[in-house]
């Protein structure tokens, strides 16, 4: 192994070939400079949530210290500012996904976005015996809402299998599509394994058969450039906090013609055009789906996060993260007793692994002592864990601010776990 620099004192650049200046990027994230248990924090739990750049924190502070007012209502100056900032955030998200602003619904997160589609779109199109197709590697948030919908409508949940590498088997998925299939719901990137799914191809299969597709993009947007038109999906959901934005804000993209036809999800203020006891006229999308005062600050913070990513460039970020993925894959695979879980050919920077004879929770505790934050558990994907025959894995998930030195710290910490429990 090469000499190791302390992860807090990373030197410029990740490799001579990369123009991505990781040291400068790290300086944008106040949380990264701290010590944990006396050691520099090595934050590798980014698939759970990411740290926030100063630009996002400042956007939140700016809203609460200057522009705080409710949106879409007040005639006064502050309300105009708040409304403009909130709607400007919607335009930023629309640009980010290559959608139009009326196709962008702000939600609390991916989970709420999926529930919205299940209860509004799903409930209005599904009949008894209809089928919803999901895959074996879904997060619980892309399973349970469909189970609930199936229970309500008498529809059936059909599961497309994965292979041992953790990839969706396209032929198997296609074999499960039939005239009763109304909707496919799948992850763009697996949170537990990092697999990047062939969403474009699946959307093509679905379109030929008139099946709607919802893509859970929570793990994809931080790593890949997402173009909903190019993907050809009907719905795309993601969370702000996994893309360096605030918690409590998320996005549902829905094709304009679909949102237009969909009934409201929740009733309340802002989603109506006029209310009388004789009846209520609903507002147009996206407002029809945003009942009550939205998370205004969250939307503004999310827009700041997207603008931050745009400045760095998702292409550059992706290249940097792939370098980290490759280094981590090699460094961990070298350690005797380590087995990588999820070896798809196309992966985002997530490395799940098990260490022979050592429970992932014990691995994570040893890593924590070295300042390394990882996730240990079933990653809210119990059906996937069952398919893999594992109760849990340890997962290191990388972000744009992680370094090759941190990969080395991770590998050393895993070796230490092996020594302790060996």
């Amino acid at each position: 192994m090469s000499a190791v620099t302390a992860p807090g004192t990373v030197t410029a650049g990740c490799s001579p070939a990369s123009r991505f200046d990781v040291a400068r990027v790290r300086a944008d994230f106040p949380a990264l400079g701290q010590l944990v248990r006396g050691r520099p924090l090595v934050y590798l739990d980014n698939a759970a949530t990411t740290q926030k750049p100063r630009a996002v924190v400042e956007a939140l502070v700016g809203f609460y210290t200057r522009d705080c007012a409710n949106v879409h209502r007040g005639v006064h100056e502050l309300s105009q500012r708040a409304t403009e900032a909130y709607e400007s955030a919607r335009r930023t998200v629309a640009r980010f996904l290559n959608a139009t602003p009326d196709e962008i619904v702000f939600t609390r997160g991916t989970t709420e976005a999926i529930n919205l589609v299940a209860q509004s779109f799903g409930r209005s199109i599904l009949a008894e015996q209809d089928e919803i197709l999901v895959t074996e590697l879904e997060h619980h948030s892309n399973i349970v809402p469909w189970q609930m919908l199936a229970e309500q409508t008498g529809a059936r949940l059909v599961v497309a299998p994965i292979n041992d590498r953790g990839e969706i088997v396209l032929e198997e998925l296609e074999r499960r599509l039939n005239e009763r299939t109304r909707l496919i719901a799948l992850a763009h990137v697996s949170n537990a394994l990092g697999t990047v799914n062939p969403v474009e191809e699946i959307c093509r299969m679905a379109r030929q058969r008139g099946i709607a597709v919802l893509v859970d993009g929570a793990q994809a947007v931080p790593h890949l450039r997402v173009d909903v038109r190019a993907l050809g999906c009907d719905f795309y959901a993601f969370s702000g906090h996994k893309i360096y934005g605030p918690t409590g804000i998320g996005v549902l993209y829905g094709k304009a013609e679909l949102l237009e036809r969909m009934p409201p999800y929740q009733g309340g203020g802002d989603m109506i055009r006029s209310v009388s006891f004789a009846g209520t006229l609903y507002n147009d999308p996206p407002f029809r789906f945003e009942a009550g005062t939205p998370h205004i600050a969250g939307a503004i913070g999310l827009a700041a996060a997207i603008e931050y990513l745009d400045r760095l460039g998702l292409g550059e970020i992706g290249r940097h993260e792939q370098e980290l993925l490759e280094a981590a894959t090699i460094a961990l695979a070298e350690i005797p007793g380590v087995r990588l879980v999820g070896t798809a050919r196309h992966k985002a920077a997530v490395v799940s692994f098990v260490l022979d004879g050592v429970h992932p929770h014990d691995v994570a505790t040893v890593l924590d002592h070295e300042g390394v934050a990882v996730r240990a558990g079933h990653h809210c994907a119990q059906p996937l864990m069952e398919r893999l025959g594992l109760p849990a894995t340890t997962r290191a998930s990388f972000a744009l601010y992680n370094t090759l030195e941190e990969v080395e710290v991770l590998a050393r910490a895993v070796r230490r776990a092996r020594e302790i429990f060996g």
């Binding site: 429970h359 929770h361 014990d362 505790t365 558990g377 079933h378 109760p391 849990a392 302790i420 429990f421």
Partner: protein, 147 residues
């Protein structure tokens, strides 16, 4: 706190080679416990005779802390009356959550798990087999969950 204070020799030993790791066919009480946070599962078997635990065993999958805790628990409660087991449960729970332990209860080897108190997220690992055992004693049929 040093890692070695958590993973003491006794815990490593019982984590690797758990005692009473078996099913008890003649169990009078049996219950499953589940930690949804980490997916750990444990089944606790108890044989009671005249209000006294005559056999205690467990099976399942878990981390070093939960396996060692279950193993040490089965050793500790064997031969005790249900009243004594209740007292031991309370004392153990106090110890791993950093509360004062009643002076009249001897924790013995269980003291090796005292280090868990410094790791709030690992407390449930240590207490899962104990809550399961307590549930079994009280005649519960639904699996015990830590959440």
């Amino acid at each position: 706190m040093a890692l070695e204070d958590l993973y003491q020799q006794l815990i490593m030993d019982h984590g690797r080679r758990p005692r009473n790791f078996r099913a008890v066919e003649q169990a009078t009480h049996r219950l499953e416990g589940y930690n949804p946070l980490c997916g750990d599962r444990v089944t606790v078997y108890l044989k009671l005779d005249n209000g006294r635990v005559t056999d205690a065993a467990f099976q399942g999958t878990g981390c070093a802390i939960s396996t060692a805790s279950a193993s040490l628990m089965t050793e500790a409660i064997k031969g005790k009356t249900t009243d004594e087991v209740e007292k031991l449960f309370a004392a153990f729970h106090a110890m791993v959550t950093g509360q004062p332990v009643p002076p009249d209860v001897a924790l013995g080897k269980l003291s090796a798990l005292a280090g868990v108190a410094a790791y709030p997220v690992r407390v449930k690992c240590a207490t899962l087999p104990w809550h399961t055992m307590k549930g079994a004693l009280s005649g519960a049929r639904q699996p015990v969950s830590t959440e």
